[in-house]
Symmetry: C2
Subunit: 508 residues, 2 copies
């Protein structure tokens, strides 16, 4: 970083009119790097806290967030502000941050992100982003190969997160079923109906609203006791929708549900899609990374039968956010469905094959960051075999956690006996609830209040971060989730010890 | 950066299972920083090239983009790859990159981006992103104040680019007109119709397709000779749509069109919206930055009457990509329209005011990068007065360019006599076309072929990057566009000299 400053301070580059040279020392080695080192990188030490939680009014007292007409007085003030930003932010790279479907700090990923930010590209035309365009084409092909799509065909795009990738699934599926919607929209026609499991990610509903489908037309198919979509229920629902005179067009199966980590049975779902001519999209945003492992890719058996797939390397593969890929078996549908042929960007009379290499018109975004570089660099640095070791390690951690929970007798109860992905859902059971049956009303009512209490203490101590939630009829429970292959067996014990410490005084 | 490596190499942090210590030297001072310095930061020197253009097959011969089972052999290989990535990428921070609606390299912005990447946050809950949540609330309020929205009210979100921000405009406008669309979708009802100018950004159509509206229901209202939407034409079109039994719901006015840089007349458009009860969205993605300037904010007179606004600090204000804000006068509609209440993320029984501070449910994204930090840091470092100096400087450059073009007699012709934003559109006229009238068929036919020829030479020389395009009936012309306040009067002369050099031999 400091090299930029040194360069900007040289005579070679005229500074922006409003940037004062004296302030630029912000970017010197001794300041920015030091701030990052002290407050981010050293902050992911196991002896340090995951967070220093402050309620909003307290936080506002510590850091002056206000912006105004005048700049801060000195570069020291700026650095102090950055220090506060780092210090008050959650350390998502800390080993004890197991709160969300992302975590960890991959050094190659971060290096790629920094280079991409320094180049500040926008990947819409080959002319402006030659390297990143070709890099995307290479990575999409390799990912399609790993999914099992036919070689040398198909298409792909990157998008700002799995929600929007799923939205692309809705978009191409609708266009496939009723191409006239591109011009005519959805009005007038019969309702188009999509299916997903009741445990699917909320983005399916959210994007269905955004895309004019409406929540009533998103059918949440029942799941079995392991959280997997029931194919017979799916077929029943499709028949019901048809009998109501509506138009089924899409099934979104989930490979790794958000909370339980379940993998929907892709092969029978694929059969149903074929039978009823429905687009088959697999939301493998979370579980997709497991395709890299010989040992675990069987969880997604049948994924090669999908028409399209969402796969977020920023989840299980630990790429920095954001890094989400939408893959598609059809070569032309992304362009046919989304292209608007803006004459200022996608000129047809360019001197290179713009039809092939100006990929931006497939997207609903115009300007777009080069999210590909970090993932490509990680892949170059580790190889598929490195990703495989990563996956095998984090799945192994999950097995260790389950064994350790069982070891600890009546202090913990698992929601379901086994888990397919790295998510593990359980209740910590305070002493006075240990004699109650899990399915008794009494237990359900009282255990529901436990997790929020523990979470509050956990946040205030900053000793770890784990999320709690309800699901279907289940009262509040905790869900741990592993993506960082820097975690060890000792960490697993630490997590459960923490729950016992935090829960010791709880008497509800 | 190198501090991360040093830290990871210490005993304090266990490395991810698949990362080999020996490879980590990639991130040492002497390698990554050196690579950035040599190939990015020094690459923005005026004496250096904006790009080293290679056709796809040639590029693939230089850099091995392939990923596979095994990693690269050494960290030297990785660094060499990064060097090639930088060297073959377009230097968008180079002063002679005036090709798109973004450019420049703001040192504060880049510092903010690097800190944000290192923290790898996701701004959906206060719990996970306390600082960035509060920072967003502060910045949105300040931006609404600058727009002129009522104080202490309203709402805002950040989105991955202006296209999706405009999509939010469509989404809330539709919900406002017909709230039942959230559940029912668009099917069955009469077509909902939106209006924008024929020169509006292509994202309006693109998002209308994505959101189920359909291109037939996006009316492109005629513009006047300066590229500004004609309000009387707008009213005619609204009446026509009503008479056809369709439902008008939204007008998107543009404040700074993509090619011409025109500002639609917001006050009369606001009147029409009021009269016909239409949502009034202003796409100020490009022009919005000018609100920071006392001298130029009059261009957007009436913007305070809008219901919502798109404003991209990554354009005219030179924040690194991506940084796009959607502002809204209504306090609740973003939540009412988009919330899906995912129980695993937006728990109601948290120990802080999650209703107020867990802002993620307003979004169609789930995970979301902290795009706010870079902009906040720039604002802290420069103050509004710094942004004002920036805007005044780049608008001044545009005036200088117009004067210089006029100075150069028959070698250049301006598309229209004056320009409101920093875009300037013109033809370079080869010697043998100089005696032809601009509106003669002969001139139009022959000049159309000039720009692609010049552009090809320009790219191959790498001496600058300027885009060409058609617009409405206009044959291919060039458009320069300024965002970097590091540009000087000398640069203006350089640009025109380059056109004369590149065009000298052209004989069409």
């Amino acid at each position: 970083m400091f090299t930029l400053t040194r360069y900007l301070r040289s005579a070679a580059f005229k500074l922006p009119a409003e940037v004062e040279m004296s302030r630029l020392r912000l970017l010197e080695t001794s300041t920015l790097s030091h701030t990052l080192q002290k407050n981010v990188f050293e902050g992911i030490h196991r002896n340090d806290k995951v967070c220093r939680f402050k309620l909003p009014p307290d936080l506002q007292k510590i850091i002056n967030l206000e912006v105004g007409r005048e700049p801060v007085k000195s570069h020291q003030d700026l650095i102090e502000l950055l220090r506060q930003v780092c210090s008050l932010s959650v350390k998502t790279g800390h080993p004890y941050f197991i709160n969300q479907l992302f975590s960890g700090m991959d050094p190659y990923g971060l290096a790629g992100e920094i280079v991409a930010s320094s180049l500040n590209s926008s990947v819409y035309t080959y002319e402006v982003s030659p390297v990143f365009t070709m890099m995307e084409l290479e990575i999409f092909e390799k990912m399609r190969e790993i999914v099992g799509f036919p070689q040398g065909k198909g298409d792909g795009i990157m998008s700002p997160g799995g929600s929007i990738s799923n939205g692309y699934g809705v978009s191409v599926a609708r266009f496939h079923k009723r191409p006239s919607t591109k011009e005519k929209g959805l009005s007038g026609g019969k309702p188009m109906v999509m299916f997903t499991s009741e445990d699917a990610h909320y983005s399916c509903k959210k994007l269905a609203v955004f895309e004019g489908i409406g929540t009533d037309n998103v059918i949440g198919v029942k799941v079995d006791s392991r959280g997997k979509m029931k194919p017979d229920e799916l077929e029943e629902q499709v028949k019901k929708v048809l009998s109501e005179g509506k138009e089924p067009f899409l099934v979104i199966a989930t490979a790794g549900t958000t909370v339980i980590g379940a993998f929907d049975p892709l092969e029978p779902i694929a059969e149903i899609c074929k039978k009823y001519k429905l687009w088959f999209h697999v939301d493998a945003a979370w579980g997709g990374g497991a395709l890299m492992s010989t040992k675990y890719r069987h969880l997604m058996k049948g994924i090669e039968k999908a028409d399209s797939v969402t796969w977020n390397p920023h989840k299980l593969l630990c790429a920095p956010q954001q890094c989400s890929v939408f893959l598609c078996k059809d070569e032309n549908i992304l362009t046919d469905c989304h292209a608007a042929h803006a004459s200022y960007l996608f000129q047809k009379d360019k001197f290179y094959d713009s039809q092939r290499y100006d990929t931006g018109d497939k997207y609903i975004q115009c300007g777009r960051r080069a999210d590909i570089l970090k993932f490509w660099l990680m892949w170059k640095a580790k190889g598929t075999e490195g990703f495989e070791r990563h996956i095998d390690h984090v799945f192994g951690l999950k097995e260790q956690l389950i064994a350790e929970i069982k070891n600890r007798g009546d202090r913990f109860r698992l929601l379901i006996p086994d888990y397919e992905c790295t998510n593990v859902s359980f209740w910590y059971v305070p002493v006075n609830l240990r004699n109650l049956e899990t399915d008794s009303t009494e237990f359900q009512k009282r255990i529901h209040k436990v997790a929020p209490k523990i979470k509050e203490k956990m946040m205030k101590e900053g000793s770890m971060m784990v999320s709690y939630q309800t699901l279907r009829e289940y009262p509040n429970f905790f869900r741990t989730v592993f993506q960082s292959s820097g975690l060890t067996s000792e960490d697993i014990k630490y997590f459960l010890d923490q729950f016992e410490n935090l829960g010791a005084d709880i008497n509800l």
